[in-house]
């Protein structure tokens, strides 16, 4: 150890009283310095965490904190030494280190959990999982969309019921993109904000707004008859607000087709299906074939939904010309479908065999004619195992030659018939136990050998045709062209409002999406009503009101009293 003082130095004079008291003063100050140092360290940490762009200052403050701590240590070295090295100090320090390390780990664990989280939506119908169409739409957003929700939850029970789910949905959108900005406005408190938009329907409403466009979204009437905000509508509004063009779907009229304006709950109309189609972001329009010279060029899909009265030759011509364009058509046929249309379908490779299919192996109680056919692996139906078709008719390839087109489907190839390329895919097939009942008056239907044909039958079919149906001559058609695509479903009731249960609407929507080449929407099942309303009779309500807060506590208290009594 080096000598503490240079020998040359004269003996140290007795310490002046001033110096001693100065040292004392400094000792008194050292806890303050230490506290300041710790505070500076914490501040530095906060700066680093919160003001990421000010990290230089964080390091400066960190340095100051370290310096203060060092100074405090130097001034009262003995005390610090005692505190750190003594038994108590060692344990204390140990505990502090362990607690800090644990807190650090806890923060890291939460941070990692935030980075690599997984979400599991266990609601029926995956209510809070966004459709793939929505996700792609949101991911493509480049600029902000301001969403304003107009709700008066304090004065209106309906608003109160709708606000939460709507905001949940928007929160899910916000998790995908930072471009959705949301605020809610109570339109009873600030009516002027709502008046600004001059909407033609009353709130609650969500208004989607970009500098260029404004698109309102209202609640949709769901199964229980109460409106709710639906993801398809919201995503559609985003598309509209950002100026995307919507594809168009035309429904033919004039032959007793199903009415797409009839939204009656139990009616045979197609009003609800139409909403579904709109929900998948199509514009739906009707087309009166008799007056139209052609199917409009902007038609993505033409739907012929259960016509009953005969078609004029000119109308058939229009349809044929459309298909040759090449066009895309969804045709729903049944017992009453006029022969002219069936003939057209036959030229386009699909023949319809009338009668009513009964399937004792798969049906919806109690009618064995409400068949539940099996889905093939085709993308249109891959996940639809619970479609039921009431009073279905059978679909066949139009000719022996076209049987090869069926085989082609299984191999994923195309069959060459007279130079045009065909593929025919059965989408839904009944079981071998099914039969085609030819006698509609027979109740219940019974299989009669010789009269009725045995299944299995295809009841929905997708056809792809490259080139004209009558043949293009050798080698004329190639699969480089766009094909004509037809989906035929051997039933019309399945898509009626009254039968919208199970996967029925989804079959229709998937077919439309496939025809319109919106494959990303096919896989997304339509969500059944997310909210389940509780409809209570007055008796039930009063039972709940009284039993919920009183019955259980009374039981628990009685149990407690019993226990107390027993212990006594």
């Amino acid at each position: 150890m080096p000598p503490e003082e240079p020998t040359a130095k004269p003996p140290a004079p007795p310490e002046p009283a001033g110096a001693g008291s100065l040292l004392e003063f400094a000792r008194g100050l050292s806890p303050v310095l230490a506290l300041g140092g710790v505070a500076a360290l914490i501040v530095a940490g906060v700066i680093q965490l919160v003001f990421a762009d000010l990290s230089l200052y964080a390091f400066i403050v960190l340095g100051i904190g370290a310096a203060l701590l060092l100074a405090a240590t130097a001034i009262s070295f003995d005390a610090v030494k005692e505190a750190l090295v003594g038994r108590r100090g060692r344990y204390g320090l140990n505990t502090i280190i362990m607690v800090s390390a644990f807190l650090g780990l806890a923060i890291i664990a939460n941070f990692l959990a935030g980075q690599y989280n997984r979400r599991f939506d266990i609601t029926t119908g995956r209510q809070f999982t966004l459709a793939r169409g929505t996700v792609t739409t949101l991911a493509a957003l480049k600029s902000d969309i301001q969403v304003t929700g107009f709700f008066a939850p304090d004065t209106n029970a309906l608003d109160a019921a709708l606000k939460g789910p709507a905001e949940d949905l928007l929160a899910a959108y916000q998790r995908v993109t930072p471009h959705i900005k949301y605020r809610s406005v109570d339109y009873q408190v600030r009516p002027q904000e709502l008046a600004r938009y001059a909407l033609n329907q009353s709130p609650p409403v969500l208004v989607f707004e970009t500098p260029e466009r404004v698109q309102p979204v209202f609640g949709r009437v769901s199964e229980a008859g109460l409106p709710q905000f639906v993801e398809q509508d919201l995503t559609g509004a985003i598309l509209v607000a950002t100026g995307a063009k919507l594809k168009r779907v035309y429904f033919t009229t004039g032959h007793g087709e199903r009415d797409i304006t009839d939204a009656g709950d139990l009616s045979p109309g197609y009003g609800l299906i139409r909403r579904g189609v709109e929900g998948d972001n199509y514009q739906v329009q009707t087309l009166a074939l008799a007056t139209a010279k052609e199917v409009p060029p902007d038609a993505s899909v033409l739907v012929i939904a259960g016509p009953k009265s005969p078609f004029l030759p000119a109308e058939i011509q229009v349809l044929d010309a459309y298909l040759r364009r090449p066009g895309r058509a969804l045709v729903l046929v049944d017992q009453e479908t006029p022969e002219e249309l069936l003939a057209l379908l036959k030229t386009w490779s699909i023949a319809v065999e009338k009668g009513t299919i009964a399937d004792p192996s798969r049906f919806v109680n109690p009618n064995i004619t409400d068949v539940v056919p099996l889905p093939s692996g085709h993308p249109v139906v891959a996940r639809l195992d619970t479609v039921f078709l009431p009073r279905a008719v059978a679909l066949l390839p139009a000719s022996e030659k076209l049987a090869a087109a069926l085989a082609a489907c299984q191999q994923g190839s195309l069959a060459d018939v007279n130079g045009s390329l065909f593929q025919l895919c059965p989408l839904l097939v009944t079981t071998p136990n099914s039969w085609l009942e030819k006698d509609p008056s027979q109740t219940p239907p019974k299989f009669e050998a010789g009269k009725d044909a045995r299944g299995p039958f295809a009841v929905a079919m997708a056809g792809i045709v490259f080139g004209p149906p009558e043949g293009a001559g050798r080698g004329a058609a190639t699969n480089q062209d766009k094909p004509t695509q037809i989906v035929v479903v051997g039933g019309t009731d399945f898509a009626a409002n009254a039968n919208r249960g199970l996967n029925n609407p989804q079959l229709f929507l998937n077919a439309v999406n496939w025809l319109a080449e919106q494959e990303h929407l096919i896989d997304v099942p339509q969500k059944p009503g997310g909210l389940r309303r509780l409809i209570l009779s007055p008796e039930a309500a009063s039972w709940i009101q009284w039993s919920s807060p009183l019955l259980l506590p009374a039981l628990v208290l009685a149990l407690g009293a019993l226990n107390w009594w027993r212990r006594r």
Partner: protein
């Protein structure tokens, strides 16, 4: 493990021997029952327990510390702490045992509330997913808060102080996200970050998804880590007796 279960069993039994458990459970059921009835009998009501779950978190604010206040405070008051800590048992085993007992009691307290979803199934057809995840959320959150109460109880021999401290910490954890309302419109970025951190730290924000049927691993990690932190701090708090 044997010691843990031994202590857990002893604590669990003594819960049912004390009137506190029955009173606390009855209070819990009265309040939850009242709000449940209110939420499902109004017009256009949902057949769901979502309101029940979100009300429960505020009730748990004072129910949890009432359940945990005695766990260590009473041992200190009775002097049995001296026996417990000089027995050949690890501090961790003591803490875990008491925690498991209180968790069991929480479950026993939640069990009668199954009556509420049962009513929903009786009178309607609720979606089972959110009911299951809602209960999962309540158990996770309650499990985390119990450790907070346990920690508070380890600090003092006075049950009232243990209750107040526990309820105080839980109150902060519940409402820390309320600071988000303090900055006005368009706060600077760093304030937004700070607010986001506070919101993440809040217990309530992590129950929102669970109460509506979405299980997010983030929420589970948050609650499990919070529970682990509470247990860890309680063990440290006991341990300091050995050197303080």
């Amino acid at each position: 493990m044997r010691n843990t279960m031994l202590i857990a069993g002893k604590e669990f039994r003594s819960y049912f021997a004390s009137p506190i458990f029955y009173v606390v459970t009855a209070v819990f059921l009265v309040i939850t029952g009242f709000f449940f009835a209110l939420s499902v009998t109004r017009p256009a009501a949902d057949a769901s327990i979502r309101d029940l779950v979100s009300v429960s978190q505020f009730i748990l604010w004072f129910i949890i510390p009432a359940l945990t206040m005695r766990l260590f405070a009473e041992e200190q008051k009775l002097g049995t702490m001296e026996m417990l800590l000089t027995a050949p048992v690890r501090d961790t085993e003591v803490v875990l045992g008491k925690y498991l007992a209180s968790l069991g009691v929480l479950l026993a307290m939640l069990l009668p509330t199954a009556y509420f979803p049962a009513l929903l199934y009786w009178f309607g057809s609720p979606d089972s997913g959110p009911i299951l995840s809602g209960y999962l959320g309540l158990i996770l959150m309650g499990g985390a808060l119990l450790t907070v109460g346990l920690f508070a109880s380890s600090l003092t021999s006075n049950q009232i102080i243990a209750f107040v401290v526990g309820a105080g910490i839980i109150l902060v954890l519940l409402f820390i996200d309320a600071v988000g309302g303090l900055p006005g419109a368009n706060p600077p970025v760093f304030v937004q970050r700070l607010v986001a951190i506070f919101q993440y730290a809040s217990i309530r924000t992590h129950l929102a998804d669970l109460s509506r049927g979405v299980i997010d691993t983030r929420d589970i990690v948050y609650y499990v880590v919070l529970a682990a932190a509470g247990l860890f701090l309680t063990v440290r708090s006991l341990e300091t007796r050995r050197w303080r």
